[in-house]
């Protein structure tokens, strides 16, 4: 772990009452990692240690109580001076949690359907224990502040997602004079390209995750929570004549033993921590996965001085992967040609093709199907991104399959051209 470069003003946040150094505005999960904190939480059932994995709000490993509010994605919120972070779901502490005994007592897992079912007394005791162990986090310290009113907008074209694909599509729409509004959940555009075209500022809302594609009397609309310009969040409804969904995908879980131990990160998380925030997450990582991004990740890390402990292609002859370590990864083992091999490493980076984020598309009525070559669900669409939905709903980028950033950008432009052709009077 090494900070290659420091961005922002040095501040201090508070973790379970102790000060932790951070830089203003970086994801606070990253501040904690850089300060050497690995265990962020305990898991819900077996109380296994958890640390950040995806840095994309697609898992639940980094949840903490933040400023008196439970279950906050620490990978999504910027560090601010004095921010109070508390670990959840452990007794007496996350580092030494007595309930981790559940994990030890049930090495093969416990079947909550059958366990003590119908056994007198035991089942009542179990129900009481389960009730008290269940749940993550305690009630918030206080009621919510008064919220700003919902904002309702009507636009010609709504673009959800400003990554490689959405930002290129928006640039194309802008060039053709088609009015649009782009909603991006991150505080920056461009996603995996780490650069973005210039877009008219008033047509872009950053820090605005889309939460649903809904329909009512007035038509289809995107619902979003907008905290643009770091203001207080407010609900946003965006009705549009045409929609382009370019929300990318989620880093999937790759099942292998102890695959969620702190120190296992998605490859894209490692890339963005390095390129976006100047943090090299590991000096000596093991890389596992498949697909073209695996080799790219290796090149990127090596160019910053990391020593790669191993590269394991899960489509190759390596089998039965296992992460080692108690509260943090210290090794990776696997079987190859009948022999078990173990390497020491300070992180395991999982780079597998992305799972397309088909949710909004399907809410709108697009077809989603299983793609055997990609081994993911994909949104079915024509070459220009038009879906089977009953209204003009387009998708681009990684919604139709895992793509390289350049391909994603290209598909965004194709969709934008199709939308522009339709939108012209």
């Amino acid at each position: 772990m090494r900070r290659i470069e420091q961005r922002g003003q040095a501040i201090t946040v508070e973790l379970d009452g102790d000060p932790v150094p951070a830089f203003d505005g970086e994801p606070v999960a990253l501040s904690l990692l850089a300060a050497g904190e690995t265990v962020f939480a305990r898991s819900i059932k077996y109380h296994r240690p958890r640390g950040p994995y995806c840095f994309a709000a697609a898992c639940s490993h980094c949840l903490m109580r933040v400023d008196g509010v439970p279950n906050i994605y620490t990978c999504r919120i910027p560090a601010r001076a004095g921010m109070r972070l508390e670990r959840q779901n452990a007794y007496p502490s996350v580092k030494v949690d007595v309930f981790q005994s559940i994990d030890w007592l049930f090495p093969r897992g416990l079947d909550h359907h059958a366990m003590f079912a119908g056994v007198p007394v035991a089942e009542q005791v179990m129900a009481k224990v389960a009730r008290h162990l269940a749940g993550l986090g305690l009630l918030p310290d206080k009621p919510a502040p008064d919220r700003m009113p919902c904002e309702t907008l009507r636009v010609k074209v709504a673009v959800a997602g400003g990554g490689a694909s959405g930002s290129s599509a928006a640039a194309r729409l802008a060039a053709q004079g088609v009015p649009f509004l782009l909603l991006e959940r991150d505080p920056f555009l461009g996603g995996r390209r780490f650069s973005a075209p210039d877009l008219p500022r008033d047509q872009v809302r950053l820090r605005t995750p889309v939460i649903g594609l809904y329909e009512d009397d007035a038509g289809w609309y995107l619902a979003a929570v907008s905290a643009a310009d770091a203001s207080e969040p407010r609900l946003l409804k965006v009705y549009a004549e045409r929609f382009l969904l370019a929300v990318g995908g989620h880093p999937p879980t790759l099942p292998f033993e102890n695959n969620e131990l702190p120190g296992v990160f998605s490859g894209r998380a490692a890339t963005s921590m390095l390129r976006r925030h100047g943090l090299l997450i590991a000096e000596e990582p093991a890389l596992v996965g498949r697909g073209p991004e695996l080799a790219e990740l290796q090149r990127l890390l090596e160019s910053h001085g990391a020593k790669i402990a191993a590269v394991v292609d899960v489509d190759g002859d390596a089998k039965d992967l296992k992460a080692h370590g108690r509260n943090k990864v210290n090794g990776l083992s696997f079987a190859r040609r009948g022999r078990r091999k173990k390497v020491d490493c300070d992180a395991i980076l999982v780079s597998v093709p992305i799972s397309p984020s088909f949710e909004l598309a399907r809410q709108g009525g697009a077809r989603v199907s299983w793609s055997p070559p990609h081994r993911t669900f994909v949104v079915e669409a024509a070459a220009d991104g038009r879906t089977h939905a009953a209204f003009p709903l387009y998708v681009s980028g990684e919604l139709t399959a895992p793509h390289a950033p350049e391909e994603s950008a290209k598909s965004g432009e194709l969709a934008a051209d199709a939308i522009a052709r339709e939108a012209r009077p």
Binding site: Y53, H113, R131, G137, I211, S357, V368, S371
Partner: protein, 496 residues
């Protein structure tokens, strides 16, 4: 402590998924329910692909077209109730729309290719809790020549979509007695079926904000007490001892029965279905009834999209779909489906004992065994129709009402919303017994959103009546012809 996880939010392992497949749950929706994968804070973002890959490699001869994703629920990211409460809603208009929009494809991809059996003495239409509980009870009484037809997966209908509330606080003696018996049966369920249903008797706390509802609660409590149900009338102050976080603005009076509770609905269906299978009764999922062969005032065959089944008796237990199935036999039922929406929040450590309901507005909420706040609220403008789409309007109405009653949850986040259909009859009471003019079609529908909690007791009595022919007023009093005769006693303790 070595586990390979597919769903780290809920600690679901690869072995758990394989175990579900061995049990016969081979589609994504069923595996989700049986293992709990995808029900945590990430809502399936990181785990769905991994689970589908396990299905693709572990389920024998599975076709790619049979691997369908589960329905993605709004919101895409956990969103605070207090923000949802700001959505503008025109309460003077009826709700419209709902997502997901019509999907253009459905369960037909999952329909088994093999034909169904060609005959059975009893065909039960509907594999919800009513149909499955009846099949189990028939088998326990020696009648095993039964088949259950279900158009979707187990739990696809209202039995898998309800909030899990079970209560004895009803407005008529018949319902109170059924509910009491059901709760007794629920206490024995795990012992008999070998599956936990997580009954938690935290009570039901009803709040009344108008004189009319207050009078109803007070009259109800007297009736409950006569049936041995210990309902107490509480002042708003006393009710705060039960749930300290509640605000009691405008509340006139409360009714509390500490013996009511909540259960986890899904294992009932699995328990009954597994019991049926053990006794040789087939539960045919993904199988549609497409018509009937009728002659001489009798149903001779039930026609399905997997072949015809010759039979002696047919039981219609299809919940909100019952009117459309009855239509195929030329029978008109007065039932109407009404969408009821519901949502679930992030899981919290236990703080809420009872299920709380404001009977005036139809707001209800409880805390599940997993720690989520689960709740809903009826919409007086909801039109009749088989609609299971989700609306922002509902989330807004529910979030406003809930945060007004329980302000401390304003920053608690909604994880997912869904909907199911109440099967509503003109007098809020079920339709049971023989069909006039078609006596071998037996009715078992019209439970108006509370069929789940009544099913264990109703099914027991129905099986007894069918097998032994013992007279039972349920099957003479709640018959279809009561609507012609005008002999109606309305149930007024309906939430929503």
């Amino acid at each position: 402590m070595s586990k390979a996880l597919v769903c780290p939010c809920e600690d679901v392992t690869v072995d758990d998924v394989k175990h579900a497949i061995q049990k016969g749950y081979c589609d994504v929706e069923s595996v989700k329910r049986y293992t709990g994968f995808g029900t945590g804070i990430c809502q399936g973002k990181s785990c769905l692909t991994a689970v589908a890959q396990v299905l693709a490699s572990e389920v024998k001869d599975i076709k790619p077209t049979s691997i369908l994703p589960f329905t993605p629920r709004t919101p895409l990211y956990p969103t605070e109730l207090s923000l949802m409460a700001t959505a503008p809603v025109d309460e003077s208009r009826a709700p419209s729309g709902g997502v997901p929009a019509s999907l253009g494809y459905s369960f037909h991809a999952l329909r088994p290719e093999a034909p169904v059996q060609s005959r059975a003495k009893v065909v039960i239409i509907g594999g919800g809790i009513m149909g499955l509980a009846l099949a189990h009870n028939l088998a326990s009484r020696g009648e095993k020549d039964v088949v259950v037809l279900e158009k979707g997966y187990l739990c696809a209908g209202a039995s898998g979509r309800n909030g899990g509330g079970v209560r004895m606080q009803w407005g008529t003696s018949a319902m109170i007695e059924l509910a009491k018996r059901s709760i007794d049966l629920m206490k024995q369920f795990a012992r008999e079926m070998g599956i936990n249903i997580w009954l938690r008797q935290g009570g039901y706390l009803f709040l009344a904000k108008t004189k009319k509802i207050a009078d109803r609660l007070e009259a109800g409590a007297k009736l409950h007490n006569r049936h041995g149900v210990p309902t107490q009338i509480l002042t708003p102050d006393a009710a705060k001892d039960v749930v300290p976080q509640l605000t009691m603005k405008d509340v006139l009076v409360c009714a509390y029965n500490s013996e009511d509770g909540v259960i986890f609905p899904w294992p009932f269906l699995w328990g009954y279905a597994q019991s049926c299978q053990k006794k040789g009764i087939k539960v045919e999922t993904f199988t549609n009834v497409v018509g009937f062969e009728i002659a001489g005032g009798k149903i001779l065959k039930v026609k399905t999209d997997r072949g015809d089944i010759a039979c002696e008796q047919v039981v219609l237990a299809a919940g909100a779909w019952s009117p459309s199935v009855a239509e195929l036999a030329g029978v008109t039922l007065p039932n109407e489906p009404h969408r009821h929406e519901i949502l679930s929040t992030e899981p919290l450590k236990p703080f809420l004992g009872p299920l709380v309901s404001v009977l005036d507005s139809g707001l209800y909420f409880s805390q599940s065994m997993r720690g989520e706040i689960v709740g809903g609220m009826g919409d007086p403008k909801e039109p009749a129709g088989l609609n299971m789409g989700s609306t922002l309007r509902f989330v807004k109405r529910f979030a406003s009402a809930l945060t007004e009653q329980l302000p401390v949850v304003g920053r608690i986040k909604v994880l997912r919303q869904w909907a199911g259909c109440y099967d509503v009859t003109p007098d809020n009471n079920p339709i049971l017994g023989r069909t006039p003019g078609l006596p071998n079609l037996l009715q078992m529908s019209g439970f108006v959103g509370h069929g789940f909690m009544m099913a264990p007791a109703v099914a027991e009595r129905m099986a007894e009546w069918m097998v032994k022919g013992a007279p039972d007023e349920l099957f003479t009093r709640f018959t279809l012809d009561r609507f012609q005769k005008g002999d109606l006693e309305r149930e007024e303790f309906i939430i929503g």
